[in-house]
């Protein structure tokens, strides 16, 4: 189990960061994903689908986390200056990364997850299985998500 965690921890951390855009929640989210993995791996029937299964866990964990945050904001609204607290000083050390982070922040969490899965090298069929949808729908959503990302990425760069 330890080897599995070590093998995937960097990829899961990158995936969580792409979806949430927050450095300070990466470790907590990665930990939640691997705790869920450790508790449920015995129930995984097809070991060859391990990666798809792990990234589905990661995607659901990150999206649940964003939903909970949104709910929490409804019940305990923060003052405007406490909303969207910027990343700590020095947390983002390259302009390219900053531009990508800002561009990703303009997309819906599900589209961020979609793009991050593509970056993880998942095939369209695997992504369709993760999202429980058709390959055609994945291709269409991916096309739109890439277009949006490109627009925001280049507008941030200029």
């Amino acid at each position: 189990m330890r080897e599995l965690i070590v093998a995937y921890q960097r990829r899961v951390a990158g995936f969580a960061y792409a979806i949430t855009g927050r450095s300070d929640s990466v470790e907590d989210l990665a930990q939640m994903v691997f705790v869920k993995m450790a508790r449920a791996i015995d129930r995984l029937k097809a070991p060859e689908q391990f990666e798809s299964w792990l990234f589905r866990l990661a995607r659901n964990t990150c999206i649940d986390h964003l939903r909970r945050q949104k709910l929490r904001r409804i019940f305990t609204p923060f003052a405007p200056e406490h909303e969207n607290v910027p990343e700590p000083e020095g947390a983002v050390d390259s302009e390219e990364l900053d531009a990508l982070r800002h561009a990703l922040a303009q997309l819906r969490p599900k589209d961020r997850a979609l793009l991050a899965l593509v970056q993880e090298g998942r095939s369209h069929a695997e992504i369709a299985a993760t999202f429980r949808t058709s390959v055609a729908a994945v291709k269409a959503r991916l096309h739109r998500a890439r277009e949006h990302l490109r627009q925001h990425y280049h507008s941030d760069e200029t």
């Binding site: 965690i5 990466v26 450790a38 508790r39 390259s94």
Partner: protein
């Protein structure tokens, strides 16, 4: 390499650097731990509050409908007595 690809690589690197050393061991420790007593206590508190609310509503409802029944019965008895008097008068 496209700038966008470099940015994705930087994003993955940056995220990986957020994991403190000993991450895997901490995860294994957390996975072995039982659900925290705080969570269990929180759940028990919610269940007890919900049960108390339901009991209060049920009690209020039964008392309220009992009063209503008594009032209606008294009203009907009065009407029946008046009808009886009228009948005897005729």
């Amino acid at each position: 390499m496209k700038p966008e690809h470099q940015a994705w690589a930087a994003l993955r690197e940056h995220a990986a650097s957020q994991l403190a050393p000993g991450f895997a061991d901490r995860v294994l420790g957390a996975a072995r731990a039982r659900p925290s007593p705080l969570f269990v206590a929180h759940f028990a508190m919610c269940a007890a509050t919900a049960a108390a609310c339901l009991a209060a509503v049920a009690l209020y409802q039964s008392r309220d409908s009992g009063d209503e029944d008594a009032k209606s019965l008294a009203g009907w008895s009065e009407i029946a007595a008046q009808a009886n008097d009228l009948e005897q008068g005729i």
